[in-house]
């Protein structure tokens, strides 16, 4: 009993003495993220770099599972009144976060209030635009943005008598697939993140709208239109390729990666963020290129591709914290945006450089000459000035909508559903979810 009283007394003394104690103890800033494996080490080092650079704040970076788990975990924590300061949210969650006014503190506000001379124009327009309101205010801090790129097995290409360049169009991909198969490779091409690659980025690259209202940027009353004749033709052709395994579906998310790294498929479309992991696991030489397009379907300039759109995640700041804590957040954001820090991140992971300075620094260091794959995502995203169809997509309930699109695609590839019926049904069901989001967020 006595010892407990002593403890209480000690606690009371400590509480009274916050003045000098606070000066020594750094303010902790909780940062929840979804980076696993090698990418987890990368985030840890980003936090350590910042923590070592000053004494006032301490970033505590914690892996909380995959993207969905981080987001739902943070939402649950917010509802319980114990939210972290910073959370990493994938681009699919952008509309949900944007709609959560009051729960989220916009990044431009955090940066301005901290008073650390911050210029939003240093970020790559293609990246920043995705997370900026129509009146130009940045809501979340870019950290790891990526775009799908094309990978091919150089050894298999050589064996099949193919030239050592990435095919540019889908017809070339098809020819290459046939030759690869003739030389003993079971499958031509596969893709990761099927909806992101075959619907969302297909639309952007071909300058076809996925929905009205600038793909959702212009308001919540957006309506899907990715069942246009061009979309249907695209899906029909891929389904035709599925029959002969010129294309082979390998599951959602990154499930199909092993098909490529195992040399079962000679070509692959996946996120640029998969670069380091693919280079590490593939036992053959990997070649890179831009995503293929259909010349007869594109509405891009001169029959060529328009530009691709991004994926990956940004950092969102949650509401209800003290000004001092927000200052720490702002300084951390400024730290990770520094050209040298950002260039190192880009070269280490395959994610895009998020500032122009980091991109130029990487060029100056001659990094791309030795590592050509790392520049492709960037080039592909900036091929042409973005149109309303190609600057990105922003839909509520996108997690569900994306799963639904992939579900319908699975029906097509399994030969159970016609492409048109599947896309019509995806559009119809997707619109129902858009309307639901609109109602819930009025």
């Amino acid at each position: 009993m006595l010892s407990r009283r002593n403890l209480l007394a000690a606690a009371a003394v400590a509480a009274l003495a916050t003045g000098p104690a606070a000066a020594q103890q750094p303010v902790e800033i909780q940062f929840w993220h979804a980076m696993a494996g090698a990418l987890n080490d990368w985030v840890d080092e980003l936090a350590k770099g910042y923590n070592d650079s000053q004494k006032k704040y301490k970033i505590v970076a914690v892996n909380k599972g995959n993207y969905t788990e981080v987001m739902t975990g943070a939402i649950a924590a917010y509802r319980a009144g114990r939210a972290p300061h910073i959370i990493q949210v994938f681009e699919v969650g952008t509309a949900t976060m944007m709609a959560a006014k009051g729960a989220v503190k916009p990044v431009y506000e955090v940066m301005e209030q901290a008073g650390i001379g911050w210029d939003p124009k240093v970020y790559l327009p293609a990246v920043a635009g995705y997370y900026t309101t129509t009146d130009g205010r940045m809501l979340s801090m870019p950290l790891n943005s990526s775009s799908p790129i094309f990978y091919y097995n150089k050894d298999a290409f050589k064996k099949a008598g193919l030239p050592d360049v990435a095919p540019k169009t889908w017809s070339e991909v098809r020819d290459a697939a046939k030759k690869l198969q003739a030389s003993g490779v079971p499958c031509g091409i596969s893709t990761a993140w099927p909806s992101w690659v075959l619907i969302e980025n297909f639309g952007a690259m071909h300058n076809l709208p996925m929905a009205t209202k600038e793909n959702g940027f212009g308001g919540l009353d957006t309506v899907f239109q990715f069942n246009s004749p061009a979309h249907v033709t695209h899906m029909e052709r891929i389904a035709e390729m599925q029959k002969t395994k010129e294309f082979d579906y390998g599951g959602r998310r990154g499930d199909s990666q092993v098909k490529f790294t195992n040399a079962e498929c000679g070509m692959y479309i996946a996120s640029s963020a998969g670069l380091s992991s693919i280079l590490k696991t593939a036992k053959f030489d990997v070649g890179f290129g831009m995503m293929p397009y259909w010349p007869d379907l594109t509405k891009g300039p001169n029959g060529g591709p328009q530009n691709s759109i991004l994926g990956g995640a940004t950092l969102w700041v949650l509401g209800g914290k003290t000004p001092d804590e927000y200052k720490g957040v702002a300084e951390f954001f400024a730290h990770i945006s520094k050209p040298d820090v950002q260039a190192a991140s880009h070269q280490r992971t395959g994610y895009l450089p998020i500032t122009l300075a980091a991109y130029e620094l990487t060029q100056k260091q001659g990094f791309y000459e030795k590592n050509p794959g790392f520049e492709i995502a960037n080039k592909q995203m900036t091929l042409n000035p973005p149109t309303p169809n190609s600057k990105g997509i922003r839909f509520g309930n996108l997690v569900q909508i994306r799963d639904m699109i992939e579900e319908e695609m699975e029906g097509v590839f399994a030969g159970k559903k016609a492409a048109k019926a599947a896309l019509d049904s995806a559009v119809q069901r997707g619109n129902a979810l858009l309307r639901q989001f609109e109602r819930d967020n009025k």
Binding site: T96, A99, Y249, G250, V258, N262, A414
Partner: protein
């Protein structure tokens, strides 16, 4: 005259049942009432705006073809799992009951899978049948059969049924074996003397005497297939491809925790609760009549 057995103290009985009532209140009645309360609301994920919508969530579910699909998937899945798990376990128990030498070893081996966590069991089966790196799918391909449960819904269903059944067989096995050993040998011997063959003895003596065990296991297996198989589905197929293996409890999880549709998910769990309650009532009212204790 019958002596009435009871407590003289009026308070004591209440104190004795209090812990059970308290547990039921905290772990069943309270969450269940929360689910009903949430089911008539719509809320954004952060809980910033809440609207009362009456039965809208239920109407939306019943109009959703995905939900009807999930109902039939659940029916097929749980019936297959219960039938397979009960049938195979009974077969194994009858065989193990006959074995004389090394009986303990067989029994131990058969009980093992029960100690494996559902998620781990799921991952195990997923790796065996992975279309690219799985050893079983490799053998199947070598035999000319194209295994790809990422695309073929029927194959995916077969896979989760297998995994879920494999996990449950041990449990059923223990109960069946205990039930078999409780059957008096004299009955079976008498029948044998009367000239009844093995099969006849099984159908007319052993099986009826096992029926209480079988009935208990049927209830447990249906509940198992409805709820405890979540980990397996999550690890093996995540409800795919094209919702071919999306059982009700998986859909509840998905809609709440991935799609962040709390009202819709709560409404589904209310329906799920009603389904399981009525299934149990049916089992106890109608199936139990055929059971001889």
């Amino acid at each position: 005259m019958r002596v009435r057995v009871g407590y003289n103290n009026k308070v004591l009985p209440y104190i004795l049942v209090a812990p059970q009532i308290l547990i039921t209140l905290v772990f069943f009645i309270w969450p269940a009432s929360q689910a009903i309360y949430q089911a008539v609301q719509r809320q954004d994920p952060f809980g910033l705006r809440t609207r009362f919508v009456g039965l809208d969530n239920f109407a939306a579910i019943l109009e959703d073809p995905g939900y009807l699909n999930s109902l039939s998937v659940t029916a097929i899945f749980s019936l297959s799992v219960a039938a397979l798990a009960l049938g195979l376990a009974l077969l194994l128990a009858v065989s193990a009951d006959r074995v004389i030498r090394g009986a303990t070893t067989y029994k131990t081996l058969l009980i093992w899978p029960y100690a494996v966590a559902p998620a781990i069991a799921g991952v195990l089966w997923m790796f065996l049948f992975n279309p690219t790196i799985g050893s079983i799918s490799f053998v199947l391909k070598a035999l000319g059969y194209n295994w790809n449960h990422l695309l073929d819904g029927n194959q995916a269903m077969i896979l989760v049924v297998l995994a879920a059944t494999w996990k449950q067989i041990s449990y059923n096995f223990i109960f069946f074996l205990a039930g078999l050993q409780a059957i008096p040998k004299s009955l079976i011997e008498a029948a044998a003397i009367d000239g009844a063959g093995r099969t006849r003895r099984f159908w007319t003596i052993i099986l009826p005497l096992l029926s209480p065990t079988a009935f208990f296991l049927l209830v447990v297996n249906i509940v198992y297939a409805f709820f405890d198989t979540f980990g397996i589905i999550h690890a093996v197929t995540s409800g795919g491809p094209a919702r071919a293996t999306e059982i009700l409890v998986y859909k509840v999880y998905y809609d709440a925790f991935e799609a962040l549709d709390l009202g819709g998910s709560a409404a589904q769990s209310v329906i799920l609760m009603a389904i399981v309650i009525s299934l149990t009532v049916v089992q106890f009212r109608y199936v139990e009549r055929r059971v001889h204790y």
